[in-house]
Symmetry: C2
Subunit: 217 residues, 2 copies
């Protein structure tokens, strides 16, 4: 059951692989870190999110024999569920597939991604399908990571819109069309290292405000 | 000139007191920390905020002779300007005067205040004048400060709505009326220490989204 309108995520996953609880937990943590822990609709955390993975062992196949396949399948299922949660978010019209690349560590990439994903100015620009990269640059700057703007290159959809901190000539109508799709890629490269993170987030619409302002809990 | 619709704050202050630049700077920093650095409309930082304080010395009165009065007057002017900035924020209908009290340090109080002021669920509840204290409690919990819910007491307007983490019977219609005013007090006490912080913030309305989604910069 997934119902983010209640700000609640309840994920139940079942497998018939034979596996010990510690092994299964390790698989689930690794996958959660790349999926459910890399999404944000409004920056608010739920008080009761749950992800449960249960294994019956009925297949009699040991995890060790299929580890890579199992991990890949689990990654695929959780990645799909995470994207469904985000696209089903309150008032969401556009899912943004953020990719922050060439950072010194994965934590640094995630920190920058979260700063972008929490910026109301960035999210409202996306609601208007506005290829406003200045707001993205400002959110990167506000993240607290000491970044030289000359290191920042920003792609929206299929185009470079800012190269090494400087405006590029780009087809604004095409960028607007890309952002107006149900999902759009926004990619940032930072020339600092080899780490990266993928992060799913959304626009912020007037509908989101209405849903959350008009009921009392 | 104050024009937060451009996400820009340009503050020019003038005095005729006689004072050295380092003394004047010290006065300004102390006051800024309690005023301009304790406000938030949407959590986004501007790339070019400015506060300038210039002294002509023409009064021939040395700062030392009037220090307390000068500091109090500067605090009053900056406090008033800060509140005007917030109430003039994009789409703002309600200013919230947050007070976070009984913390271990001022930094801890500010950290919790910023977490509340950045929560979209809290800000949209305020837009609906909804005395939803559960969202405030969740934002305190999400701040990262390790708080025992049993230590948290929340006041909205003139009433206690949550005492030591537990719901209180309160007059919901009166709380709704308090929150529907142009400005309302929200006070949180945490039973952890003697520090505190006052912080000005706002509701988040559909109008805010429209203003920021509908133009391109």
């Amino acid at each position: 059951m997934i119902h983010p309108q209640l700000a609640t995520m309840l994920v139940y996953l079942f497998t018939d692989v034979m596996v010990t609880p510690p092994e299964l937990k390790q698989c689930l943590w690794a996958v959660c870190d790349e999926t459910f822990n890399c999404i944000s609709v409004d920056g608010d955390t739920s008080t009761n999110d749950t992800v449960l993975l249960m294994a019956s062992g009925q297949s009699k196949i040991r995890l060790g024999a299929v580890k890579n396949k199992f991990q890949a399948a689990l990654r695929q299922v959780c990645g799909s569920l995470a994207e469904q949660i985000v696209s089903d978010g309150e008032g969401v019209r556009h899912v943004i597939r953020l990719s922050v690349e060439q950072t010194r560590s994965r934590e640094e990439a995630l920190h920058i991604a979260r700063s972008i994903a929490r910026s109301l100015l960035v999210k409202t620009a996306w609601a208007g399908a506005d290829p406003n990269w200045g707001r993205i640059l400002a959110a990167i700057g506000a993240s607290g990571v000491r970044i030289d703007p000359k290191e920042v290159t920003i792609f929206i959809g299929r185009q470079v819109v800012c190269r090494r901190g400087v405006a590029c000539a780009f087809d604004e109508a095409a960028a607007h069309r890309d952002l107006a799709q149900p999902a759009c890629d926004v990619r940032i490269t930072l020339q600092r290292g080899r780490a990266s993170a993928a992060f799913l987030t959304t626009d912020l619409t007037a509908e989101y405000v209405r849903i959350n302002a008009d009921y009392s809990t």
